[in-house]
């Protein structure tokens, strides 16, 4: 699971109002290089929740993203490479996603988070 996906996921337990972003507990992270697409990155920059991405990438062992970012940074190749790396090249293989409100753990196995709910959570 990569961090663009994480940036969309929120705890889906009934009644939870503060389920985003899920905290990441990373036991195994791998990196896979992919080509950088500037237009795509610019488009995504406007849509991602920045703080969530920064925190998530740190949990995955990557601390290069600035705390804050605005679109003027999109002119910097340096910034784009870091953004690209955090968003698209870090894969959470094993670990867990944790609901910030309830502490409920959603395990991540072989890169796949299990977001299935128990009967009493629906």
């Amino acid at each position: 699971m990569r961090l663009l996906t994480h940036n969309m996921l929120s705890c889906n337990i009934k009644g939870v109002t503060n389920g985003f972003p899920l905290k990441i507990e990373a036991t195994k992270v791998i990196e896979k290089q992919v080509d950088l697409n500037v237009d795509f990155l610019k488009n995504m920059f406007l849509k991602v929740e920045w703080k969530a991405l920064v925190e998530a990438s740190r949990s995955m062992g990557y601390a290069e993203l600035p705390e804050e970012a605005d679109s003027s940074l999109l002119g910097s190749e340096e910034f784009l490479k870091k953004f690209h790396h955090a968003l698209l090249e870090l894969h959470l293989e094993e670990g867990a996603l944790i609901c910030p409100e309830t502490g409920r753990r959603f395990s991540v196995t072989k890169g796949i988070p299990n977001m299935l709910l128990h009967e009493d959570e629906v």
């Binding site: 699971m1 795509f40 977001m115 629906v122």
Partner: protein
């Protein structure tokens, strides 16, 4: 990539090892899958460079097709862990990057307007009534650009009405009618295989004012 080449690659994918009838697990054949994604890409520009989600991805056929047609980011969602493992293996074999999420479509809660296009071959609702409508409702909530979906031709009027009146679709069009070749997979199947008339739909969700881009 040419249509024939895409169809060929999809035909080599592993399918359900242990299909579960209650989930209506049927493979989306390479003929339908390739035409569906090819149309979405070439006629409407909804695949290349886009963020695409495959709802009820099963063994990943539609999502993988999207990746092969240069979707920039693809996510497959399914309730069944076994299928997701097969989908993962399939993606690996073709060297495409797909993210997978195990989730019940009914409780999916995704933030924002990140997904451009949803592609899906949802259950038809023969085992769990209304399953097809759940998928459609979700897809229209989440996609910001377009939803491509397969539904039985016999449900055409019902689908159109529901999409527009209940699920807020700005438009709902049948792009073409296809024959879905269902092989004999389950004990209750009497015939060796059977052709079902299905519609390939393209739905466009209402633009959500003020949310995202």
């Amino acid at each position: 990539m040419k249509l024939k080449q895409l169809e060929g690659l999809l035909g080599d994918l592993q399918q359900f090892h242990n299909p579960k009838v209650e989930l209506e697990q049927y493979p989306t054949g390479p003929h339908i899958a390739s035409r569906m994604l090819y149309t979405a890409d070439f006629s409407f520009g909804d695949v290349s460079n886009k963020v695409v989600a495959d709802f009820g991805c099963g063994c990943g056929t539609l999502g993988i097709a999207a990746a092969l047609l240069d979707a920039e980011y693809v996510i497959g969602v399914d309730i069944d862990a076994e299928s997701l493992e097969t989908a993962s293996a399939n993606a690996g074999d073709l060297e495409v990057n797909l993210d997978f999420v195990q989730c019940n479509i009914g409780t999916l809660r995704w933030r924002g307007q990140i997904i451009d296009t949803v592609v899906m071959n949802p259950p038809f609702g023969t085992r769990r009534k209304g399953a097809d409508m759940d998928f459609l409702q979700r897809a229209l909530e989440i996609a910001s650009g377009a939803v491509y979906s397969l539904h039985k031709t016999t449900t055409r009027e019902h689908i159109k009405r529901a999409a527009i009146r209940e699920y807020n679709a700005a438009s709902a069009e049948v792009i073409c009618e296809l024959r879905y070749d269902v092989p004999q997979m389950y004990k209750f199947h009497k015939k060796k295989d059977v052709d079902i008339a299905v519609d390939l739909w393209r739905f466009v969700p209402q633009k959500n004012e003020g949310k995202g881009i």
